[in-house]
Amino acid sequence: MAPAVNQHSVGIVEPRVARFTEPLALACGRDLATHELVFETYGELNEQRSNAVLICHALSGNHHAAGYHSPEDKKAGWWNECIGPGKPIDTNRFYVVSLNNIGGCHGSTGPTSINPQTGKPWGPDFPPLRARDWVNSQARLADYLGIDCWAAVVGGSLGGMQAMRWSLEYPERVRHCIVIAAAMKLSAQNLAFNEVARQAILSDPAFSEGRYQEQGTLPVQGLALARMVGHITYLSDHAMANKFGRDLRSGSLDQGNDENVEFQVQSYLRYQGSQFSGSFDANTYILMTRALDYFDLAREYNNDPVEAFGHAKCSYLVVSFSTDWRFSPARSREIVNALIAADRPVTYAEIEADEGHDAFLLPIPRYMDVFSAYMQRVGATN
């Protein structure tokens, strides 16, 4: 049986494209004259149009969050564990909307799209974006789909930042905000890792100052290296030790043996890097990491998160994972404490998990229980 045919799967899904011809004003001061968003939906919108859930993707995510693209497709969407019949975001109950953000490289307008003014790919000239630009374009998608108010806006990592931004920018259009493994802003350590990733790309000669599409080259080395660095920060020390330890893939450390030694973790990282560099755009990666760097939830609110959340009207679920050191539980507790001080309804769970930041993508039993229980509440008030 094909994996797509499964009572807990949304099955075969087909991406759709929405085209927007009104200029989108961006935080950087420039306009995007026209843009397209590629998105998928799962489940049915109810008559009151009150059961819609928006999924905001993270750094390297896309619109394909659940299901399969064909019966032969072996790889499900990136959040298939959490979206589907009987899963936390239950498609028997909710109408789920998942898009590829502008600036992305999976079909929405981004650096690989043609700049209508020049007739060439945007490349490095694509306007820099902030999380609020994504939120504004997502609001247009909501209009396009006839959704006045989301039952929930949900996101992990950078997606959680968009969800929080939604709750401040469109307080009337969000009933519940679900923020998983996120933070109100990056730490210096986070910024540092992102800079290493960007430098890896920028220093690849094939990057050609971002005009590799026109040059017919691809900075695969740089992008792979960037992904390798990123990937290390998604895993915990414990998870890496468990998965690879010091196991050797080839060679020997015996004395009197001079052949090259390769550890399992080396080959794993290189595989991850090369897989990624074949399917992702380098300019998008730079743009996304910058948006992540610039995000600071409370900047416009006198740097006071309590004042910021004072503008929100929704209820919040915040979830963190014990071994996540990229966005640690302490960062989530800052969100929770600001919400408490702002007198917003908040629920918080800190999940024991060995998998580090990646845990938010995995079906960890307690995580699934908490997520499902909260989504029941979201559904109860549809």
Binding site: N337, I340, A341, P345, T347, A349, V370, Y374
Partner: protein
Amino acid sequence: MRLDLAHIQRWIRPGSRVLDLGCGDGEFLQLLRDQRQVRGTGIEIGEREITAAIARGLNIVEQNMDEGLGNFPDQSFDTVVMAHALQAVHFPDRVLDEMLRIGREGIVTFPNFGHWRCRLYLGTRGRMPVSRFMPYNWYDTPNIHFCTVKDFEALCEQKNIRILARDVVGNTDRQPLFASVWPNLFAATAIYHITR
């Protein structure tokens, strides 16, 4: 519904804000929400209890009282409730201070270690009491700070905490006859409504 919880309901004004420290599965907060339109928040550390309370549609924050309550602003709740948890925290005196910093009023319930059964058990057997209501051994009990009605009232006096009301429940559904007269001897559970 545990007897002590049924008793303390009447001290909570409809529509007020309540913080429940160690809220368990949220049964009490749900009752307050459904019958008294209370806006409630619970804190809890038990994983199953947290999930159950979330499923009831309550606002629950996973937080360990022993690591402080400093994230709750001064006087941000009308009432702070702590039912059957005083004896399980590391610093009961500090938690009492925190309760009355966060809330205008506090409600505390705890098992009274001065109950005659405890005294009899300790007096005749010379061993720490184990009963249906306190089923743990001394070495594995989560209850690390047992006190009596007299102990609690002495602490309140020392801290200038005003006792607005005292209530007691026995081991059965019947109101214990002597408990209101000699609470330290006959109250199985002591219930205090306090403020500063």
